[in-house]
Symmetry: C2
Subunit: 447 residues, 2 copies
């Protein structure tokens, strides 16, 4: 505290996971159960999602355990008996997991993750899995839209300060990178995940100097191999002139200015004037970066109007997925002791049985998915879920976000044109197999 | 990892905080600077905010240090010299802090926190302070609206699974409690913060039994002093009948059913029918809880229609502040080496000088605020910022969320009626003192 260490992760759970575990234990229930994690409906602002968070989720499952302090806390609630608490402190996750690889586009109803384990184990990991996979998928999906808008120009995640807590700043940086960001401002994301980090200066740095010339000079001397200067503290075009003067004055010392950053005002009009100032001063190689309230729509408009911007910093809207800040991600029991089960609550029907998703392509472009029972004869297409854990141990090596990011970028290239638009997209065909349809109809009629 | 331990918190920062620190160090700048943390404009969905997150922020400042691993990582970037990195590894926060108490309503432009320290120290803590205070204030403010809607009935935070990462689940539970929630589902929030925890069962529990009768019976026997049963897995009214039957059948064993929970469908209409079923069966004392896609508007509509609901579980919309998922929280330099400074970027003007906020009341109700210079003769009203840290040590004892929650509830009672509405509220008068106004005009004319 105030940070949470590894051993606390199991206790980052809803209490009802533990009350249910206690009830299962009292019943002596040890049969395997299968849960699937999926998004019920996509937000109306999203044509597709990018799966993310799996590697962190698997690490959580590998290390899952209740620490003595957590067990003692549960004892203090006077709701759980000693025998259950003793079992809980010994409990580890020993289940099998199948999952969609990070960086894969997914659609409503398609399982991202399938967990099969004794029901107590499978149930106790629910809250954390939903939290980490749901959040990272949320941010990677937003980042992919920003990537599409940037049309080849790089963008960096600047959103840590507005992220929802520290874990969001860290895992959000990871997810943004998986979704296509070129870099992040978050130092810890560089340390933990090896993501490229980037950063310039804040307005306060300029304000703490007598004027912009002295601020820029000091900063450039500290970072002689390519400083990035923030030029909008007072007047952006004047700031560009001063940056050019500093670049000229310090050239003799072997100091180069790599870029200037605009963070306020009419970014498109200002970028054009700044480009002229820099070019006229003989610095066509100094890049113009833009930030300040950007999202995919604003970036697309700037580039549509030919604003000479070479890269973007995207903060709040990326780190909070501001237009669609949550996903309807759920984790549902689909098989119990080998038998398919089905919930029929109003508006919340869950299809029964362990499933697989098959994706077909047409040329280089994805053409449609079929959600089928995992046990049926496979239809055409490539299966999306692969086995990633057997009896609590990974069957695939840990994977950093760089491999996942490459998968995302390849997948975005393989999206149909009608899904690559920022709005007004086409439907993507996702159907259920006949066998799955029949099983659901059969279970529904039994009720 | 995947969780971040205490020592990583300093590295949860934007890289530019460190590049600026390096430039300041190279310049030999050690003069004190004052930064203020405030929200530029309120989201249009909010009439007021509830300050939260201070206690965690102070704990962060007390423990602030860069671990050897972080320093080595920075060295690997080949941008920082050895002397700076050596200083960085020794650096601790030794500044003075003034702050608004958690649970206090605040408005646009009012400093929640004021930090005075050598500029390197004051700058390096920016990202984390914005992240933790911004997020907790966001969630406490949403929770306060839910509290107003609940009109005396309790509500619990059920939002961990949809929160933005693990820290959001934990600190969101804390902030929801500060904002008025009666409890949370998050076990770790009980452990770390002593917040009351609550939980019932999931649909999967019902599905893993042959029928609802056996599921409810097993669960009630495990929690004989008052189980809460989820009755909407198949048909809510039938579920209520079965719950009543279980309550009757187990009464001989001394087992009581405390409540039933509805999680889908037309909650108002179903609650009325469930109430009738339970009353007719002789169980008027079994409470009806409702959850499932709730927010303050839906709760207000349910209660307006006299739905017999005794308590609410609020998830996603609370834990992500779904209608307003971010605050325009900023941390701005206002004084440097004793001199007031002022940024004049388009749309982002910051008022200069260290400030205090004075709040006046009319009877029991708050009537208006004046933002003034901290050094000027105080106008009428109660000052909102108090000293909380001197030279890096707290001058007030650590405070758990219970005291902050009590402050919130008292403050909500003291809000003018025109601010207590969920929409269409009145403006609350916030003005600046003449001295502050004159100073800003003077600095602006100098440019």
């Amino acid at each position: 505290m105030p940070w949470v260490d590894d051993g606390s992760a199991a206790a980052l759970t809803d209490l009802y996971e533990i009350t249910m575990a206690a009830a299962y234990s009292a019943d002596g229930t040890t049969a395997p159960a299968t849960f699937e994690l999926f998004v019920r409906d996509l937000p109306e602002e999203r044509a597709f999602l990018i799966a993310a968070g799996l590697d962190d989720a698997l690490r959580f499952l590998e290390e899952f355990r209740f620490e003595p302090g957590a067990v003692e806390y549960l004892r203090s609630l006077e709701s759980f008996d000693d025998s259950f608490l003793a079992d809980l402190s010994e409990l580890r996750f020993r289940g099998n997991v199948w999952a969609v690889a990070e960086g894969t586009p997914i659609f409503a109803g398609e399982p991202l993750l399938r967990v099969t384990a004794p029901i107590v184990q499978a149930q106790l990991v629910e809250t954390f899995l939903l939290n980490t996979i749901g959040f990272q998928t949320l941010i990677a999906s937003k980042a992919a839209r920003v990537w599409l808008a940037c049309d080849g120009r790089p963008f960096a995640d600047f959103g840590a300060r507005r992220g929802h807590g520290a874990d969001a700043a860290l895992k959000g940086a990871r997810a943004a990178y998986v979704g296509g960001a070129a870099a992040t401002s978050v130092v810890l994301a560089g340390i933990e995940y090896g993501i490229p980090v980037t950063g310039t200066m804040a307005h306060s740095y300029v304000l703490s100097h007598p004027d912009e010339y002295s601020a820029f000079t000091s900063f450039a001397r500290t970072f002689p191999e390519g400083a990035a200067l923030l030029i909008d503290t007072f007047d952006t075009v004047e700031g560009a002139r001063i940056a050019a003067r500093v670049a000229a004055d310090l050239a003799d010392e072997g100091i180069t200015i790599r870029s200037v950053r605009l963070d306020s005002g009419d970014l498109g009009a200002l970028a054009a004037r700044v480009r002229d100032v820099l070019d006229d001063a003989g610095f066509p190689e100094i890049r113009i970066l833009a930030s300040g309230g950007l999202d995919e729509f604003r970036i697309a408009r700037l580039l549509d109007s030919d604003a000479p911007i070479d890269g973007f910093g995207v903060g709040t809207e990326l780190s909070t997925s501001g237009d669609a800040p949550n996903l309807e991600v759920v984790y549902k029991l689909v098989e119990d002791d080998g038998e398919p089960v089905m919930k029929t609550s109003t508006g919340k029907v869950t299809l029964p049985g362990a499933k697989q998703v098959y994706r077909t392509t047409s040329g280089d472009v994805i053409a449609g998915d079929v959600i089928a029972l995992a046990a049926e004869d496979p239809p055409d297409g490539t299966p999306l879920l692969e086995r990633v854990m057997r009896r609590g141990r990974r069957t695939v090596p840990p994977e950093g976000p760089t491999a996942a990011r490459a998968r995302t970028l390849a997948a975005l290239d393989a999206l149909p044109e009608g899904l690559r638009r920022l709005e007004g997209w086409d439907d993507y065909p996702v159907s259920t197999s006949n066998a799955l349809h029949d099983l659901a109809a059969q279970l529904q009629s039994w009720r």
